[in-house]
């Protein structure tokens, strides 16, 4: 587990994770004070929930994927990947250890957002509160399921093509899956093009993992009978991305 320890020590030392932690845990409270939420107390809690998850996704896209890409590039270009490979640590294991180290810092961001929502924005009525907790738990789980394979992809692409490419591909995919797919659906409805329709179908629908609307309008938790299907859908994407990541991952840069 030397590579895991080395990567987690490296990420910890850089301290940018602290900025993200502040962004997720404290900034939502500050932002709601600055916004017009103070004029209408009824808006405060939904605004806080929305801000918490928005900060989480932004932190992940701008810091999480970049940190993963930097580690992937570093492994192949500094001789570390080659060193570990000669000591018997396979490419698969190197990818897994690096990925696990980054996930250790990124996964808590989702848990942090859930915590902010539960502590700062829970409904007063006990029955609604229980549903609120369940909703946030579901979305924290979905967050990890969405982000984890994208982190692996960032590491793998960066090890082969550089950190910028790794970062752009992963953050681009996440942005597209969260927000771009909606626009693609509008385009499909307008154009009626079968290719566009196929692209929309094959796209990663990460918006299913975005709880903003559900929390803002207190729509309650995802039906527990439907939740496993959602988990299976994202697990399927995860398996595909992990397989692609393993194929792309390189322990040393080409000479």
């Amino acid at each position: 587990m030397r590579l895991f320890k080395l990567t987690s020590a490296t990420v910890f030392r850089r301290k940018t994770w602290a900025v993200c932690a502040f962004t997720v845990l404290a900034l939502p409270f500050l932002l709601t004070r600055l916004s017009s939420g103070t004029e209408n107390p009824a808006l405060f809690k939904p605004a806080l929930a929305q801000a918490a998850w928005a900060m989480t996704w932004l932190s992940t896209m701008f810091w999480g994927f970049f940190a993963a890409a930097k580690c992937g590039e570093s492994l192949s270009r500094t001789g570390l990947g080659e060193y570990f490979q000669t000591t018997g640590v396979s490419a698969t294991r190197q990818l897994l250890e690096t990925w696990a180290a980054i996930l250790l810092f990124v996964a808590p961001l989702g848990l942090g957002a859930a915590l902010v929502c539960i502590v700062g924005a829970s409904p007063a009525i006990p029955a609604e509160r229980a549903m609120w907790i369940a909703t946030n738990f579901q979305y924290a789980l979905l967050f990890v399921l969405v982000v984890a394979p994208l982190l692996a992809l960032a590491i793998a692409i960066a090890s082969r093509f550089g950190s910028l490419t790794g970062f752009l591909v992963s953050s681009g995919l996440s942005a597209y899956g969260l927000y771009g797919v909606g626009y693609m659906k509008m385009l499909v409805s307008l154009e009626g093009n079968s290719l566009l329709s196929w692209i929309w179908s094959a796209s990663p629908h990460y918006h299913f993992a975005d709880p903003t609307e559900r929390l803002r309008y207190k729509m309650g938790a995802i039906d527990w009978s439907q939740f496993p299907l959602l988990l299976a859908y994202f697990a399927g994407i995860a398996l595909l991305y992990l397989a692609v990541s393993r194929l792309l991952f390189r322990t040393k840069a080409m000479a």
Partner: protein
């Protein structure tokens, strides 16, 4: 039967290189525990041979048989610039061997709290060498491949590492590539790459002075 000592066998006809052979052995070479130097002029294949033995590169012909846990320390290995040396040691060296590693670092005058990126070339080399030496598994036979470990190292540090190598020569096989800088440097066992041929020269009183004429 469990192997207790490390061993490295390079078959006759072993060819190393990338698209075309850079060098080959014309007879079998067998290396036993101890320190073996790898010497050649620039661009003749020292790093290529080390990487081939470490299985980081494929050999073009022949065979390599290695008995022991391998570790290859590239010349250009770099760690994260912001990590201080003590954090590197904690991550890379087993807990049981951490204290002796820290003590050696202090004897080598290596600043444990300085970020790796701010170390001089020589001190970075010391960091890598300490990690390599103290990552060795004492319960297994070990093969350590060191690419230009003396580059940038001062004479005192070099002597200290050579003392460590002499003390563990019965159970660790080290293959060390280097460009010797004094004629009297003792090299009782040396692999030479010359005229695209890899050969093994072994003699107790052998020094660089005798070997360099073969390379020139």
């Amino acid at each position: 039967m469990a192997v207790k000592t490390p061993q490295l066998n390079l078959s006759s006809g072993l060819a190393i290189g990338y698209r075309s052979p850079l060098a080959r052995t014309d007879q079998e070479i067998r290396l036993e525990p101890g320190t073996h130097f790898l010497i050649a002029r620039n661009g003749r294949g020292k790093t290529t041979l080390l990487r081939t033995i470490a299985r980081s590169l494929r050999h073009l012909a022949g065979d390599i048989e290695a008995q022991g846990q391998m570790q290859y320390l590239p010349e250009d290995l770099r760690f994260d610039a912001e990590l201080p040396v003590h954090s590197l040691f904690r991550a890379m060296i087993p807990k049981a061997r951490l204290q002796p590693a820290l003590e050696l670092a202090q004897r080598l005058e290596l600043d444990l709290h300085k970020p790796y990126g701010k170390l001089s070339t020589g001190n970075r080399r010391k960091t890598g060498l300490i990690i390599a030496e103290f990552s060795l598994n004492p319960d297994e036979p070990n093969i350590l491949l060191l690419d230009e470990p003396f580059s940038g190292l001062d004479a005192r540090a070099r002597e200290m590492f050579e003392d460590i190598w002499r003390a563990s020569s019965d159970r660790i096989l080290r293959l060390v590539s280097c460009h010797p800088d004094y004629d009297s440097m003792r090299m009782p066992s040396a692999l030479l790459i010359h005229n695209e041929t890899i050969c093994h020269s072994r003699e107790d009183g052998q020094t660089w002075s005798e070997l360099k004429h073969q390379l020139n």
